[in-house]
Amino acid sequence: MIVFEPLIAPFVEFEFMRRALVGCLALALGATPVGVFLLLRRMSLTGDAMAHAILPGAALGYFLFGLSVGAMTIGGLVAGLAVAMLAGLVARGTLLGEDASLAAFYLISLAAGVLLISLRGSQVDLFHVLFGTVLALNDAALLLIAAITTITLLTLALLFRPLVAECVDPSFLRTVSPLSPVAHYGFLMLVVLNLVGGFQALGTLLAVGIVILPAAAARFWSRTISGLLLAAVLVAVCGSLAGLLLSYHLDLASGPAIILAIGGIYLLSLLAGPEGVVTRRLLHQRHLQA
């Protein structure tokens, strides 16, 4: 039991640790499947850009109502969706590609957001918005994350087949079904929702970490879509647990500790996963008969 005590005691003793764990587990269940699809659609950097894009909305909510979960969430949602739509419109209507237009919008958003917060708040508030406060998740924030996870899992279940079809062969989906725009915009909506959920715990800069890193790590463990989804969730759960414990025992900032722990699993997967560098090199030394 002595071995388990450092692993369990922090959560038994402290409510804020239990809340942080519940928040991270809910995020792991909802945000990582979204990350898997972002990765498979080659939109990892789009996720990063959209995470930055929610900042001015959240900042405006903060500017008007202070550190209110509701105001910052609604502001973040509106800003994230607006930037996603505007970037899409600019990409389709001009010579600028979607990546460049997203980069333009997110840089403007990031600067506007930081400016808005610094107009009213302190360095602490800025730190809160950029890097989150996973150890101070209140009921409203936890309920919000849980609701977003529920919506995400239900929507992904409904849109799973169209999403896969759109990833592999977008023109096929457009020819057989009117669901192509539903899948596309529904998915973008889920990305923004989960970034807003992640923002409560990890801030605008780190929220995308729990979305993308587990998905990237999962790529080294499985070659099937269901295997990828399962592996990504497991990586996020283990990383969150490890990050929270590290931050507790070593007195580290909890958000960065969680993302670094997931990053550690990513590096381990890169080396030792069945599809990782070392395993593939070892396997490839002896070829098969057919």
């Binding site: 498979l40 409904l158 849109l159 087949r161 169209p162 896969v164 079809a165 990833c167 592999v168 062969d169 977008p170 023109s171 096929f172 457009r174 020819t175 057989v176 079904s177 009117p178 669901l179 499985s222 070659r223 099937t224 879509i225 295997g227 990828l228």
Partner: protein, 244 residues
């Protein structure tokens, strides 16, 4: 029947193919030929409704647009996606299972039969990324088979595949023609067109000729098509041409 009425299709106001008037009869086996950039693939996208006409229209008679089967060029698909061959082929049953219904035993039998029909027995569980170009094309043909569509559009179906695969897949095309389905294929190999396609349409950004293959692929038409392949011109004046 498909009617192309003064159809102009293009990208960013520049026409890829313009002022096209043609009628394609139900049950036709039609090859669409022409030099690179002639607008052949663009025409297929216009018929599918993937591209909105800059001018004119496409009228489909007796075919619902969502029941048209389309085989895209392989470059348009993401073969790195972690999908099995049977999962890819199962998309051909979309008209039966839609986005939500799970596959029944009957559906799985149909998938196995389609894979057998294209010579991919035993490939069901393989990742699509592990298939060769020819095997992947066979899998896409299996998907078209399952779509059971009255109108089938094939974009360069025999490009970069070996002779044996091309012959097997041509046999499937002939079978569809025998079943009175309309098949339109974009092709480059004129000998193949002469041997297997009774009707042809020669494009060079506009219609050069359409009708029986021997008539369409005459030397003077092919020469004219080569001459008509124009370059994309940013300073091109606005086209004033009306329907014929």
């Amino acid at each position: 029947m498909i009617e192309l009425d003064n159809l102009t299709l293009g990208y960013d106001r520049h026409p890829a193919v313009h002022h096209l008037d043609a009628t394609i009869a139900r049950g036709s086996l039609l090859a669409v030929v022409g030099p690179n950039g002639a607008g052949k693939s663009t025409l297929l996208k216009g018929i599918l409704g993937l591209l909105r006409p800059l001018q004119g229209e496409v009228r489909l008679h007796g075919v619902v647009r969502h029941r048209v089967a389309y085989l895209p060029q392989q470059i348009d698909l993401d073969r790195t996606f972690p999908l099995r061959v049977d999962e890819l082929v199962s998309f051909g049953l979309w008209h039966r299972v839609g986005a939500l219904r799970s596959l029944t035993r009957h559906d799985r039998t149909a998938i196995a039969e389609a894979l057998a029909a294209v010579g991919l027995n035993g490939f069901a569980g393989r990742p699509i990324g592990a298939l060769s170009g020819g095997q992947f094309q066979r899998a896409l043909f299996a998907r078209v088979l399952l779509q059971d569509a009255p109108l089938i559009l094939l974009d360069e179906p025999f490009t970069a595949i070996d002779t044996r695969t091309a012959e097997d897949l041509l046999a499937l095309v002939r079978r569809w023609h025998g079943e009175a389905r309309t098949v339109i294929a974009v092709l480059h190999d004129l000998d193949q067109v002469r041997s297997h396609f009774p009707t042809a349409m020669l494009l060079a950004r506009e219609l050069v000729a359409a009708g029986p293959t021997a008539e369409v692929l005459r030397g003077e038409h092919l020469f004219r098509a080569r001459q008509m392949a124009e370059a994309h011109d940013e300073r091109a004046p606005v086209c004033r041409r009306r329907a014929a």
